[in-house]
């Protein structure tokens, strides 16, 4: 089959590789009909996530048709149309039974490797480095799906791929980011990053009853999408004024947002001054894996007693974490790779009911063979790119 493989920093290419095979009884093979490039794939592309190997197949947002099932998979049949969640989860361990699927205790066969980096292993993830298992990804014609009796959701109506594909990651991820803000009504929520996950965090915060949602980004076209499609009530373009903390305070009568969502992660770009320069130099020299500008400002801007919700991906260590602000303001930080399996059904219902059409983020549709162009366009935000969908 053909698959998009990582072959070094800033290099991906579509190559011929062997077809996937059933390796365990609970596996299924899916013929992929749609797949996407995630903002977090750019962290791999840019070379900031450790334990990538030449030849790794990328991609963790995909859907398709079941073409083969292992003996232990009785809930799926050949021909079923499924969306596959990006974390691989066994459904049996304590974490899975408490709906903490992205920290499944069994699905990462490189647990020992992850334990060294994070203190504990976390769930396996498709196409996302060897620290999360070394699983082949879904930017390909076919993929093997382990624990297929737990993860995939059957799509039993005729909704087009583009409306359900993002149940695999970015819609639930954005939703979890908003849910972690404990929205009860009347809140002001600030969202750092108006990329695809940020857009869904904004839309979800609105759905959950936030009164005001402030979108923060450096690209006007993304901020316009945040207002026109996701429902943001105000925006900050930090290219025009980099002092995000002061602007957020001013916009909230000095209080600061009740909760702040970091939908940026380890490669944030805003800010100048000594700390921003230090971050860039240290990350370039591989002395620090995570640039923390968005997270630092989220902590400084959040109102005392508020919540900082981190769904942007971090990979290692960052410097200058504002512990003083974090502690003295009595903040709560909530984090995590999304427990997608928990959100699949309720969010699928929202899509079916027409509460949201997640395809609004798509700006580019390319054949799989042009994956490399897709990565470049997405990385450099060319052609007002927000989301790239690939068709195998």
């Amino acid at each position: 089959m053909r698959a998009n493989v990582w072959s070094g920093r800033n290099t991906v290419q579509v190559e011929n590789v062997p077809d996937p095979k059933i390796l365990n009884d609970r596996d299924a093979i899916v013929k992929i009909t749609s797949t996407a490039i995630c903002g977090s794939d750019l962290h791999l592309y840019d070379g900031y996530i450790p334990t990538m190997h030449k030849g790794d197949i990328l991609g963790h947002e995909f859907m398709g048709e079941v073409v083969e099932t292992g003996r232990g998979v009785s809930n799926l049949s050949v021909g079923d149309r499924v969306v596959v969640p990006f974390p691989i989860a066994c459904g049996n361990c304590w974490a899975c039974q408490h709906e903490l699927y992205s920290v499944c205790e069994n699905s990462n066969p490189n647990w020992g490797m992850a334990e060294k980096a994070f203190g504990h292993g976390t769930a396996g993830i498709f196409g996302y480095s060897h620290l999360t298992g070394g699983y082949a990804g879904g930017q390909a014609e076919f993929a093997r799906v382990p624990y297929a009796d737990v993860g995939p959701i059957k799509i039993e109506d005729d909704l087009p791929d583009e409306q359900v594909l993002f149940l695999s990651d970015i819609f639930p991820t954005g939703y979890m980011g908003a849910e972690m803000c404990d929205i009860k009504g009347g809140e002001v929520i600030a969202v750092f990053g108006a990329g695809p996950v940020g857009q869904f965090a904004i839309a979800s915060a609105v759905m959950l009853g936030a009164e005001q949602v402030i979108a923060i980004d450096q690209y006007d076209y993304r901020l316009q999408m945040a207002v026109n499609k996701a429902g943001a009530t105000a925006t900050i373009n930090f290219q025009e004024d980099a002092d995000i903390v002061e602007q957020l305070k001013e916009m909230t009568g000095g209080r600061g947002p009740d909760a702040v969502i970091d939908a940026v992660g380890m490669e944030s770009w805003h800010g100048h001054g000594a700390i921003a320069v230090m971050d860039r130099v240290k990350q370039a020299a591989r002395l620090e894996s995570d640039r923390g500008l968005a997270l630092r400002d989220a902590i400084l801007a959040c109102r005392p007693g508020g919540i900082v919700s981190v769904i942007g991906v971090y990979g290692g260590l960052m410097d200058k974490f504002p512990t003083g602000a974090f502690m003295n303001k009595g903040l709560t930080i909530r984090t995590g790779q999304c427990h997608v399996q928990k959100y699949l059904r309720p969010l699928y219902e929202h899509v079916k009911n027409g509460d949201i059409d997640p395809s609004f983020v798509i700006t580019h549709r390319l054949p799989l063979g042009e994956a490399s162009n897709g990565y470049e366009t997405f990385k450099h935000k060319q052609d007002e790119c927000v989301k790239v969908v690939l068709k195998p």
């Binding site: 493989v5 077809d19 390796l23 365990n24 197949i57 490189n110 396996g124 082949a136 093997r144 624990y147």
Partner: protein, 118 residues
């Protein structure tokens, strides 16, 4: 120096002990079982005799590293019914694979048997 390792299995103690006895993981040390607090299942604690030298450590042949693999594989097998395999680590958790990953792309037919798939 005594090396210790521990893992928690999401099953009642009686069942864990029974499965341990019938599968007999190759661990050379003292093994004790203990109820974990609340609904957290059963703790398995292993105390080993010696730790191995630095070369062993690199090769992944130290008893502690091997014991940790065994504990993890036991947990995976009894909780999920299988040892999860990725394309990078097709044999499932093993300390030796940490240093020699396959690329994360499907195996050739010829590799399946070696990985223990068939």
């Amino acid at each position: 120096m005594s090396d210790k390792a521990a893992i928690t299995i999401n099953l009642p103690r009686e069942e864990v002990q029974q499965r341990w006895t019938s599968s007999a993981p190759e661990i050379d040390g003292d093994v004790t079982f203990k109820d974990a607090p609340g609904d957290r299942g059963t703790e398995i604690h292993v105390a080993l005799g010696s730790g191995g030298g630095p070369i062993d450590k690199l090769r992944g042949t130290v008893p502690l590293a091997k014991a940790k693999d065994q504990l993890r594989r036991f947990k995976q097998q009894v909780e999920t019914g299988e040892i999860p395999r990725s394309e990078g680590t097709p044999e499932g958790e093993s300390v030796g694979r940490k240093f020699k990953q396959r690329p994360a792309q499907p195996l050739e037919e010829s590799e399946l048997e070696k990985a223990g798939v068939r």
